[in-house]
């Protein structure tokens, strides 16, 4: 490692010298006397050379990487906005090669064992008949899904991805705390931790001989493809997510991108002829393999939980018919019960003829009378867990219970003993973590991953280390706060350097997914375009009014402002009865409400909330930069719901116009011109056209003679400059209408929007054999009508206001029909419901 002697002299071993491990627990970095463990020395040496300031700055680099990539974790019921930035400690957890070899062997055996148990439980149930496994563990377990009995897992892999939570006891032994067999989370976070940390410490990472993760994901992806029952030469593999409100949605989007799989929600899929299809804009496209992140009981409202909106009706039947593979197979959650831990040693001997290599934390299943009595008698030493918890139920720490809660718990156990287990409480090992510039010991849990393949099992050489926020923290979970660490599994041998970030040759094929936009996504993008435009229109409209208020000292508003208020009233943005004879103070109040009151329809905040929702559900389609700008837009709009001065409101509106311009610019400059972009821009153009028409219609009604509102209308339509350059005089009706309706070189005009929409309509996909002729027809009609307008004749005639109003109304009707036609053709994907 290249370090200058200068650095090492200014920071002599300050980094680790002050670290004080806790007594009577195992510390990962130091042995009893505070001596560094040998496998840590290369890293600690390198970091010492870097020095405190540099290490902290590198840590900041890693954190910035996470922030900028929008690495988040959703916390349920968090009032602060439920998205939290993922926390990564700059110091990794190191695991020595020999130790990892033992863990790896234990994990391989364990995945194999659990797979065998799953096969039996959903098949012959010999283990239950022979009582090698207490029947209650399966038959009273809500995760045993009876509709899945007899389904054969595709590829004969009953457990594709298995996650194991490990802890280390004071004597240095690793123990299994829990198995995750349903839809294990965290592998994607482990990956993103690795990318962040290896970029922040590239030399240290290279010099420490750390095993790489990429080949694990490559093998997982290749194995997934082989599971396809049909289309085996070119299977369509998708990642099924519960959606953006799931706690680990970031990870779903990240893994989907990393593995090159479409990210799909249940609503995007449909079952026809016992086969699964994605509903794309062009029609149905078959799905062969589903990597699911939806809990199995939620996967099919027909056969599993009827109240689920996350699944696909008929999915179980499609599996039963052998037409789709799901990983992990539906029903695999049954072996997650902690009660199983008590029986694994015996089952391992029986099924594999081997001793269990990796022991589980001592577990007593209360369904056995003597075990129950033992747990009850020594409650202080136990963590009591529900054996069949389906949600997130907190465990009970025996020694933390007061007499009353203790009695209540014991009574509950007695009423359903099979539903509880007692687990020995063991002190977790610690590793050094940064807190306020200091290294302090923090308890940790290590989650590791095993993937089943056709030639045995592959263990991810690494994992997700989670660190408790507290020194004596008994529970370590991301949901309850805390941080994470990258996990460096060291090797004596050469390091494989496969990476999926620049895909390697064998699996590359030409992607033509750009055209395969699920209808749901197109729907959200269409509305994203509409809301982004609506927000801009609203802001411009309010800005025109607020700017006339700013600097106004008279109590009586000038006539132009009064007319503007009537315009707002006609647009239903201002109370009708107050639009006349009103004080500036009142106007101020109402206009400000229109800026920040989220409950007010059409207010800036209300439209922003709609925009946020549409953007959030398709966020995997945005680049990190786009998302960052969007976050800034939201932060800027966060006004205190109290009185703010008019000048400040004006400044705010100006800022928002700029934020929005940046957001729009990013979206326009970064999106592939596929159907997704087309629908987004279609929404934007349609909204702009409709808004312009509505403003004109209202202005003509309020001010038929065009005395007061022409100037503000030009301002609202951002066309003041053009008008001035062309006419050098006060606006006249004919000139304004020409500029705003007919001039197809003005990007704010109706003609411009119609031309753009017509071009888009020609690019709209056909659904099945149905071409979007209706949309094209409506647009051609509107363009022809607009083209035939003789403005001078129209405005010169005595019936000018009526004739113009009629034209505007026609345009409005055509566009409304256009919106309906589009919605009906492409977005008709009503929610399924159970009867």
């Amino acid at each position: 490692m290249n370090v200058t002697s200068d650095t090492s002299q200014t920071q002599p071993r300050q980094l680790f010298g002050g670290y004080r491990p806790l007594p009577e627990v195992y510390d990962e970095m130091t042995a009893g006397t505070g001596r560094l463990r040998e496998h840590w020395m290369p890293l600690t040496g390198a970091l010492d050379h870097l020095g405190l300031a540099e290490v902290q700055s590198r840590g900041e680099t890693a954190r910035r990487f996470l922030r900028e990539n929008g690495v988040t974790y959703n916390v349920y019921g968090d009032a602060q906005g439920f998205e939290r930035t993922w926390e990564l400690d700059p110091l990794p957890l190191l695991i020595a090669p020999a130790e990892w070899a033992r863990i790896e062997a234990g994990l391989v055996q364990r995945t194999h064992l659990l797979g065998r148990i799953l096969t039996d439980v959903y098949g012959a149930q010999t283990l239950l008949h022979e009582r090698r496994l207490p029947p209650a563990l399966v038959l009273a377990n809500p995760s045993f899904l009876r509709p899945c009995r007899g389904l054969r897992p595709s590829g004969n892999l009953p457990l594709f991805l298995h996650a194991v939570d490990l802890m280390r006891s004071p004597d240095g032994q690793w123990w299994v705390m829990a198995d995750r067999t349903q839809a294990p989370s965290g592998a994607g976070y482990a990956l993103v931790n690795r990318i962040a940390l290896s970029r922040a410490f590239p030399d240290e990472f290279r010099d420490c001989h750390v095993q790489r993760l990429a080949s694990f994901f490559q093998i997982a992806r290749d194995t997934l493809r082989t599971l396809a029952p049909l289309h085996r030469d070119n299977p369509n593999v998708v990642l099924l997510t519960p959606g953006p409100y799931n706690e680990t949605y970031f990870e779903h989007a990240y893994l989907a991108r990393y593995l090159g799989l479409p990210l799909i929600e249940g609503g995007d899929l449909t079952v026809r002829d016992r086969r699964v299809f994605i509903k794309t804009l062009e029609g149905l496209r078959p799905v062969d393999v589903i990597l699911r992140r939806v809990d199995d009981s939620f996967c099919d409202p027909l056969e599993l939980r009827a109240d689920s909106h996350l699944g696909v009706p008929g999915l179980v039947e499609a599996v039963r018919a052998g037409n789709v593979a799901i990983a992990n197979p539906l029903g695999s959650g049954v072996v997650e019960t902690p009660a199983l831990l008590a029986f694994l040693p015996g089952l391992c001997r029986h099924l594999l003829g081997e001793e269990l290599k990796l022991p589980s934390v001592a577990t007593w299943w209360c369904g056995q009378p003597s075990e129950r009595k033992h747990v009850a008698a020594h409650l202080n030493q136990f963590i009591v867990k529900r054996a069949f918890s389906t949600g997130s139920s907190e465990p009970f720490f025996g020694r933390c219970l007061d007499a009353e809660r203790r009695e209540a718990l014991l009574a509950e156990i007695l009423s359903a003993p099979h539903a509880f287990v007692g687990q020995e409480q063991v002190a977790l090992s610690t590793a050094p973590a940064w807190r306020d510039g200091q290294l302090v010991p923090r308890p940790l849990v290590l989650r590791v991953y095993v993937c089943a393949t056709h030639d045995g099992f592959r263990v991810m050489p690494g994992g997700l280390t989670r660190v408790s926020p507290l020194e004596g923290g008994p529970v370590v979970s991301t949901q309850s706060g805390g941080s994470s660490k990258d996990t460096w599994v060291l090797t004596d041998g050469p390091v494989s350097t496969v990476t999926l970030l620049t895909p390697s040759a064998p699996v590359v094929r030409i992607e033509r997914r750009a055209s395969e936009v699920p209808s749901r996504v197109a729907d959200h993008l269409f509305w994203l375009g509409r809301y982004a435009e609506r927000l801009e229109d609203t802001i411009r409209l309010l800005r025109v009014a607020v700017s006339r208020l700013a600097g106004e000292s008279v109590a009586e508003p000038p006539p132009e402002l009064a007319a503007l208020l009537q315009l707002l009233a006609a647009l239903e943005l201002f109370p009708e009865h107050e639009s006349e004879r009103v004080t500036t103070a009142k106007i101020e109040k109402h206009l400000l409400l229109l800026v920040y009151q989220a409950s007010r329809k059409g207010s800036v905040r209300e439209v922003l909330n709609r925009l946020r929702h549409s953007a959030f559900v398709v966020r995997d389609r945005f680049t990190a930069d786009t998302w960052r700008i969007f976050n800034r837009l939201q932060l800027d709009a966060r006004v205190r719901p109290r009185h703010i001065p008019v000048t400040e409101a004006l400044a705010l509106l100006n800022t928002l116009v700029l934020d929005l311009a940046a957001f729009n610019g990013m979206v326009m400059e970064n999106m592939t011109r596929g159907h997704g972009w087309l629908f987004l821009d279609f929404g934007r153009r349609l909204e702009r056209a409709l808004h312009l028409i509505e403003v004109l219609r209202a202005a003509l009604r309020v001010d038929p003679a065009g005395q007061l509102l022409l100037e503000p209308v030009l301002e609202i339509a951002d066309s003041v400059m053009t008008h001035r350059r062309r006419y050098h005089e006060r606006p006249q009706l004919s000139g304004v209408l020409d500029l705003l309706l007919l001039d197809n070189t003005n990007p704010r005009s109706l003609a411009f929007q119609l031309d753009a929409l017509a071009a888009h309509a020609r690019g709209l996909p056909s659904v099945g054999r149905l071409e979007p002729a209706r949309e094209q027809g409506l647009l051609d009609e509107a363009i022809a009508r607009l083209g035939s307008v003789d403005l001078l004749a129209l405005t010169a005639s005595s019936a000018a206001p009526g004739a113009v109003a009629e034209l505007v109304q026609t345009m409005h009707d055509r566009l409304a029909e256009l919106s309906d036609a589009l919605t009906h053709r492409y977005f008709a994907h009503a929610d399924a419901r159970v009867s």
């Binding site: 209650a136 009876r146 027909l302 008929g314 099979h418 994907h829």
Partner: protein, 304 residues
Amino acid sequence: MLYEVRHRTSYDYDHDVSLSHHLVRLTPRTLERQRCLERVIESFPVPSTFGEHSDHFGNTTTFLTIEGAHRRLEIIARSRVEVFPVAVPTIPDQTPAWESIRDRCDAEARGAPLEPVEFVFPSALVPRRGQFADYAQPSFTAGRPVLEAALDLTARLHTDFAFDPNATTVVTPVLEFFKARRGVCQDFAHLMIACSRSLGLPARYVSGYLETAPAPGQPKLAGADASHAWVSLWCGDAGWVDLDPTNNLMPSDRHLTVAWGRDFGDVSPVRGVLVGSGSHQLRVAVDVTPVAGANDPDSPGASR
């Protein structure tokens, strides 16, 4: 007795439904005392997909997909079923003491076959509660033969609870019925199962039919003209014995068994998920007609 069964389920939707999937359990089981001679399940519009499998409990389960816009769906199941009186009726006072059944089915014990053990545990619609055990306890006195005790419980349920088609819906929790004391066969069956399981006894939910028009002189049983439900209790070596708490009798050749499971949720005759908006109206009509020429034997269990 030979019966012809016609079970018609119709949905009227107030909006077009473009796609619907249905899971149907309308095929009578073949048992020692029952033979299903023929049966047909049809739907209008005709299904685009039709599949069948035997579920975890051995019930024949039919999967139907209806594609294309429709506002009305009719599912008709027809069958010919021959039912015999129970050949060797289980003598109530010769069944084992109820505690021995409980102990054999204990979660840890190895004494019972696996099948009944499944029906000891609570299920989604049938919780185990102390209050159900308390209610059942007067019938289950120490050492009492299990079937004798169960018949006593059946009689008490029949007396203490009223049959009332308007009091509950298919989703009424059993605890609510226990408090309100009015309901239909589904509620009676769920409560009896809850009582049994709360004592540690295995009991399952049976769905089926009753003869619609009884022979002259015989009372029409409650629950005819629709799907009926009753209970089956495991009595040790005597096996499963059916009990109808709604009618306070032991089913014989006037009860046709279609399916069984832990509770209604496992055997729901027609369950569907549809894609479309709006609401729907559901109608069910059941006809169970004895086929002319068949004998009309006096069945010991049918008298009240």
